[in-house]
Amino acid sequence: MASTKPNVSADQASPAEELTGAARDNVFQRELVKLIPHLRAFARTLTGDATQADDLAQDALIKAWDARLSYQIGTNMKAWTFMILRNQFYSDKRRSWRQSQLDQEAAERTLVAVDDPAAPIALDELRLALGMLPPEQREALILVGAGGFAYEEAADICNCAVGTVKSRVSRARKALQGILDDGAYDRDGSAAGEAMGSILADAERLSAPR
């Protein structure tokens, strides 16, 4: 709602905050719909799999709808929904997710299949490389580097300190670069398993806290 008043939190609620019942739900839903594409994109980067991602994003959508009364209209809804999606992802992961082995095999196959050294950075390669990062680095980099969030917002979403987000983003960037550079070399020669081993070792080394 376009208001000439600045959006300060006063004891007197602004018009949007006064909304109740169906009217409030309508406003909420309209905003929520706009965020669906972003939630899908974030989910895709978290899971690395389109089908799982949409399941996750749909779960998050339902959660957000169910929690709509706890959302303060006028605050950052994108960050709020991303937080819900992220929490959902980690609770799902705790329950099931033992796919890392499988993913690694798939990554190995794909990395070897890439054979255009001239291509600066192929999207598939970047996806694979992202998949090798520790999850907390991956999410920090995505939120700040692609999702358009400020460090402070990313910190809220990830429930950690701003400095932590900054260092995760920085380590993620460095590790990504290392993985992508190594991938480019290893494509030319050494055996796939070897190449993968060294990439993973590098990823670990590069992403280790200093």
């Binding site: 980067t45 692609a146 200093r210």
Partner: protein
């Protein structure tokens, strides 16, 4: 805070720092491209039907 490397590396070779910065920029662009690709996909019907179903319970709370 976290520096790319010790100082002596900076002076060696063809400005590896600049190269690294360019490389980082390329990665950043790709990262956004990857994300935006999904953002720009049409939203599957499933998502909207979730909210359509939710319409039925509007104003309950």
């Amino acid at each position: 805070m976290i520096n790319p490397g010790p100082n002596d590396q900076r002076r060696r070779g063809n400005d590896p720092l600049d190269e690294a910065r360019l490389r980082q920029r390329a990665i950043g662009v790709k990262l956004r491209q990857m994300f935006d690709e999904v953002v720009n996909e049409p939203v599957p019907d499933d998502f909207l039907s979730i909210l359509r179903r939710a319409d039925g319970e509007k104003g309950e709370g």
